[in-house]
Symmetry: C2
Subunit: 241 residues, 2 copies
């Protein structure tokens, strides 16, 4: 018996119709389906594939031991997360060793700021296939109904977790902008955009491609904490014949 | 009779299995299919959907009047391209006015450096729907079998058409890099990466997700002109528990 394959399957921005044909088939055929979730929650990746799994699919919920309770600058953070990923990998390895394929559900694109990468880097001795997907940011700029980049525009992708000065400096120097990992960083992102005169051009996109989709000018968005599925987009203004 | 809808349908990086479920359905059901191509060529977008169209689908080939024969800095370039896009739009508008839906095939993601944007911006009075897709860059970094961004990594997307000094400056200042529009700019991109000490970490990915896929260290790639489907990737090295 040969060992099974671990598939890191990108699910895209949220609308199940935006999964790739390959991802759709892998998910529907899977006998073993693993996914990350916050403890006590149903999990966003699992929610995207609701109604798609085989009735006999075995589900492996991998529950984060921490999310935002410990700051990532805390030395305990890396140790706890590392131990968690090792445990996940052990479960996947046992299944693969027993000859089973496992589909790991990944929101967005697995190799673009995704948790699957922490499994992938630990599974170098197994057969692992990664299926790319539509990124959350593609879902977001499509929701604004306006192209994000034209001609020679430079696009910079920033995490809202960066310091305000760095955010402002990079925001000033780029044509088009995407800011992710907003959450409780939303106010800092807003201040940084305002400092460099770009707040008026910024859009806040929540739940892109999902039923709760909301597109609003960031300057007019009242909230100070963004939902998990939220992305800021500033469109480039490059060459256009 | 109501007017038809123009669908800008992203096809993704090249592998037809990486089209979204929605794109797959729209393409297979379409009665009118439009696509850009270079005059005298079959067209890359059309090639991706080979074997997928209805036998009775009407095809609308939109042939670029110029590609690289005139530099985009030449004032004639914008005038010629603008006239071309106006002509394309007139054809699509006639079909929509006659009640037909039209699927416009788009390589990659339509709103990310795509030609469809030039139709979209001219079709504001019609019903237009844009279907996002897996970007060529997602296909490229997935082909390297290594995540492109971790933790707080900053990703910068650059066009190879930019001046060498600007390329070098931006390459030095970003964690992860993607460089597109390589073509005859490949040598300049290589020199810029070398100037900032990042050539050794750069990968050249050609025809990602397609049968001719090739992944090679840019420093070891002999060619000075890259094929149309080529992307340079430098992976970020951010936080990873």
């Amino acid at each position: 018996m040969s060992a099974g394959t671990i598939y890191g399957v990108g699910l895209g921005p949220g609308d199940p119709e935006l999964m790739s044909v390959r991802a759709d088939r892998l998910v529907r055929d899977a006998r073993h389906v693993a996914f990350f979730r916050k403890a006590g929650r149903s999990g966003q990746a699992r929610a995207i594939v609701a109604g798609m799994l085989r009735p006999d699919a075995a589900e492996i919920a991998m529950e984060y031991p921490v999310t935002t309770e410990i700051r990532f600058s805390d030395p305990r953070y890396n140790a706890i997360l590392s131990q968690f990923y090792e445990g996940c990998v052990a479960r996947l390895r046992d299944l693969a060793d027993a000859g089973h394929d496992v589909v790991v559900l990944c929101e967005g694109d697995p190799f673009f700021y995704g948790s699957f990468m922490h499994l992938h880097s630990r599974l170098t001795d197994l057969r692992v296939e990664t299926v790319p997907a539509i990124t959350g940011m593609s879902g977001a700029w499509t929701a604004t109904d306006s192209p994000v980049t034209w001609g020679d525009d430079v696009l910079t992708v920033l995490m809202g977790t960066l310091p305000e000065d760095e955010l402002a400096r990079r925001m000033a120097g780029s044509d088009a902008l995407v800011v992710m990992k907003l959450g409780r960083n939303l106010d800092r992102v807003r201040r940084a955009l305002e400092r460099v005169g770009r707040l008026g051009a910024a859009w806040l996109v929540e739940y892109a491609t999902m039923p709760k989709e909301r597109v609003i000018r960031l300057a007019e968005a009242g909230e100070t904490v963004a939902p998990y599925f939220a992305i800021v987009v500033v469109h480039g203004q490059g060459r256009r014949p």
